[in-house]
Each structure stands twice: as structure tokens, then as C-alpha cells.
């Protein structure tokens, strides 16, 4: 039988949040149509590194396996993307896997995206309709608006746009593109619109929309093709108008 083909992975590992990162190389048996996650699964089955030493299995995060949950994001050959959607046949070898550097590492390739959820809280990226009685059907949405709002709703909080953004880092508290776009999404919703000013106030807090310096990497890298830079510019305009309303004292409740 011909010699078994292998795929070489060089993985940046880290045993705990505070320990130093190190690299470990693995040779994984090649299978047709394999993706990065199936490579990681093979390492988990047989955690032996390229020197033949037994080691701990590599940890990573995943859920949907179809590029909709965002959990499996990591830096693959220098580019942040979803490992479930990264096909080995389309990657240059050796395949280098690193955790996304913008987020604190929990272990190996698992990172903590809590700052993204804090950002969604800052901009109140939800529609508050909880109540004790039936409010009836909400207002309808124009079809044209629904179409672009639907695009914004595809965000899976994967963190790739934050990883690519030069202004999201440990020296700045910028909330990043994803949450700004979500504020626009919920402000576009006919019911969400009723709390539009609260979201804009969130965008005007520290680390808000002015943290953006228009490097525009986010829109290039978003796996969902979300028009992030359009959202940011739209929220720039909306917050400016809101701040004029606040200052000059016209109707600012809405």
C-alpha cells in the first residue's frame, strides 16, 4: 500500500490563561475533503506530536460546524476565520493555527469573547418587549429595509472583525465593528426604533463609535459579508444628530 499522506499542523498552544504560549507540530493522516476541525479531531483521537511524544489533546471551540455560530474562529495561516469552513485542500501547508490575539486565551485555541457580549450590552442590542400583557402584532417593516437589515442580522459574534481591527486591542476600549452594526440593526427595526436613542447613547459612551479610525479591515474580513463600514458611517451620522438634539434641547426622548 502506498505511504499514508499526512497533513502538518503547527499549533500555538497555551495550557492556561496565564501560562506562556508555545508551538507544537502534529502530522495528521490525510482524508479527502477534511477541514481544520476534522484535523483537530484526529489530534484529539491520537494526541501524539510530530516527534512521536504523547501530549495533551488540543482544545478548541465549536458548535454548529456550518459557519453560523462563530464559536470556532481562530487564526489559520495568518488569517482569522472559521475553522469549520476552512478546507485543508484549499490551505497551504504546513497549516498554522493560532488563537485570535485580540481576545484573552482560555486554553490552546479557545478564546474568551466576553468583550463582544459586553459591547452588545453597551449598545442595548435587543428589543425590550417583555411585559405582562399581549401587545398584539408589531408594526410592519418596509420590504426594502428588511432586505438590508437581514444582512446585518447575520452577525454571529465570531470576532473576526475585531481581530482584524487595529483599534481593538488591549490599549483601547473600542467595542469594535460588530456591536456598532447591531445597534444599527435594532434601530432599523420598527419596534426597536422606539429605543433608538438609548442605543445611540451607548454608542456615545467611552469605547463607542468614535473609537473607529476607518481602517476598514472589518468589512473585508467579515465571513458574512456584513456592510460594517456602512453601518459605522450610518451610526456616526445618527450619533451626531443625537448629540445635537441632546445639546440644543429639541426632542431627544426618541
Amino acid at each position: 500500500m502506498a505511504e499514508q499522506k499526512t497533513v502538518k499542523f503547527i499549533i500555538t498552544r497555551q495550557d492556561s490563561p496565564d501560562s506562556a504560549p508555545y508551538e507544537e507540530t502534529f502530522n495528521v493522516p490525510y482524508r479527502k475533503n477534511m477541514n481544520v476541525i476534522s484535523g483537530l479531531m484526529a489530534i484529539r483521537e491520537n494526541p501524539v506530536n510530530a516527534n512521536g511524544e504523547k501530549t495533551t489533546p488540543v482544545y478548541w471551540d465549536m458548535n454548529c460546524l456550518e459557519e453560523v455560530c462563530g464559536a470556532c474562529s481562530m487564526v489559520i495561516n495568518g488569517t482569522a476565520r472559521q475553522s469549520c469552513a476552512a478546507l485543508v485542500d484549499e490551505l497551504e501547508q504546513p497549516i498554522r493555527l493560532e488563537p485570535m490575539s485580540t481576545f484573552p486565551v482560555v486554553r490552546d485555541l479557545i478564546i474568551d469573547r466576553e468583550r463582544m457580549f459586553d459591547a452588545l450590552k453597551q449598545v442595548k442590542a435587543w428589543i425590550p418587549i417583555d411585559g405582562t400583557h399581549d401587545l398584539g402584532p408589531g408594526p410592519r417593516m418596509p420590504e426594502k429595509k428588511r432586505q438590508w437589515a437581514y444582512e446585518l442580522s447575520k452577525c454571529m459574534t465570531c470576532g473576526v472583525c475585531l481581530e482584524a481591527c487595529p483599534n481593538v486591542n488591549d490599549k483601547s476600549d473600542f467595542i469594535g465593528p460588530a456591536a456598532i452594526s447591531q445597534a444599527r440593526l435594532f434601530n432599523a427595526h420598527p419596534t426597536g426604533e422606539m429605543n433608538a436613542s438609548e442605543r445611540l447613547e451607548g454608542l456615545m459612551e467611552d469605547g463607542g463609535v468614535t473609537g473607529c479610525g476607518n481602517a476598514q479591515n472589518c468589512v473585508q474580513v467579515c465571513p458574512k459579508g456584513i456592510p460594517l463600514t456602512t453601518s459605522i458611517a450610518a451610526m456616526n451620522r445618527a450619533t451626531n444628530i443625537q448629540s445635537f438634539k441632546n445639546f440644543f434641547g429639541s426632542d431627544n426622548a426618541h
Partner: protein
Amino acid sequence: MAEHREYFYRRLHSLLGVIPIGIFLIQHLVVNHFAVYGPESFNKAASFMHDLPFRIVLETVIIFLPILFHAILGVYIVFVTRNNIKRYGFFRNWMFYLQRVTGIITLIFISWHVWETRVQIGLGNADLDYSLMESILTNPFMFWFYVVGVISTVFHFANGLWSFMVSWGFAQSPRSQKIVTYATLIVFLAVSYIGIRSLITFAYGV
């Protein structure tokens, strides 16, 4: 406003870059361009600016304070950025990077330039006229220092104008942002020409 301090400072920074600093830059380079029509022409224009009523107030409010504020916050903004053009070599990321690089070059250039001209004139060590600039710029090193300084400042202004259009929400769609890119490229070329043309006259008399 009080609770939105960072927001307010960043918007002010962006505004000041264009009004008044950007307007002043264009005015300054256009006045310098009188040099091309001869030393007397330049001296007349420069002394008109110099003899404007309330000159000290105008200088302080329109030039010194805005640049000081913009420069201090600008250096802070440069400091909290983690540039990543190696990994993400997109056009706009390069412009973002160059905006920061030219900001620092411009800071060095303006500091030296103000020291050498306005401060020396203020101390009575020099007179504001054609020959002051001529004596500075006939030195080849200083000539090239000024060329780099002017191009850097104009780039920073023109690209900043693009960024301003986005930061204030004027240009939102990708198409409008692209058109503004071309428009600010024209601004960059035109204003650079005006600036460099007068440097050449000061240095080489042509």
C-alpha cells in the same frame, strides 16, 4: 456632554483637523505661492497676513490652540493603535497607517518650522520676509526636509478629509466613500503642487 467626554473630544479632534486647521493649511500654502510671482509679491502677501487686526488672537484661536489639541489627542490615538498592515494589507488599512505615520512626521515638521520662523520672528531674531525662507531653503537638507514635511502634512490633511467625511456620516455607502477617495486624491495632488511649487521658488529662485 459631560458623560460623553471621549465622544466629544474625538469629534472635536476630527472637526478641528478640517476647521480651522485644514482651512489654515490651504490659506498658508496659497499665500506662500505668491513667492512664485516674485519676492515683492510674497512680501506684500505675508505682511498683509501679518498686519491683520487682532493677529495674536487670530493666531491663538485659529492656529495654535486647535493644532495643540489635535496634536496631543492625535499622538494619544497613534499610541493606542496596533497597526497590522502586514496581515491585512488592504488599501484603506494602509491609508489608516499612513494617517498615523504622517501625523507624527507632521508634528516634528510643524514644531521645527514654527520654531524656526514664528518663534524667531517673535523673539526679534528674524524678519518675516522672502529672504528668511530663501536662507532656510537654499540649504539642500532643509529643502528636502520641507518637501517631506509639506507632502506629509498635505497627505495627512487630504486623507483626514476623507476620514472626516466618514466620521461625520456624510459618506456612508461604499460608492460615495470611493468617490470621496478620488476627490481627496485630487485635493492631495493640487495642494501638494501649490506647496512644493513655492518651496522650489524659495530654494532655486525659479
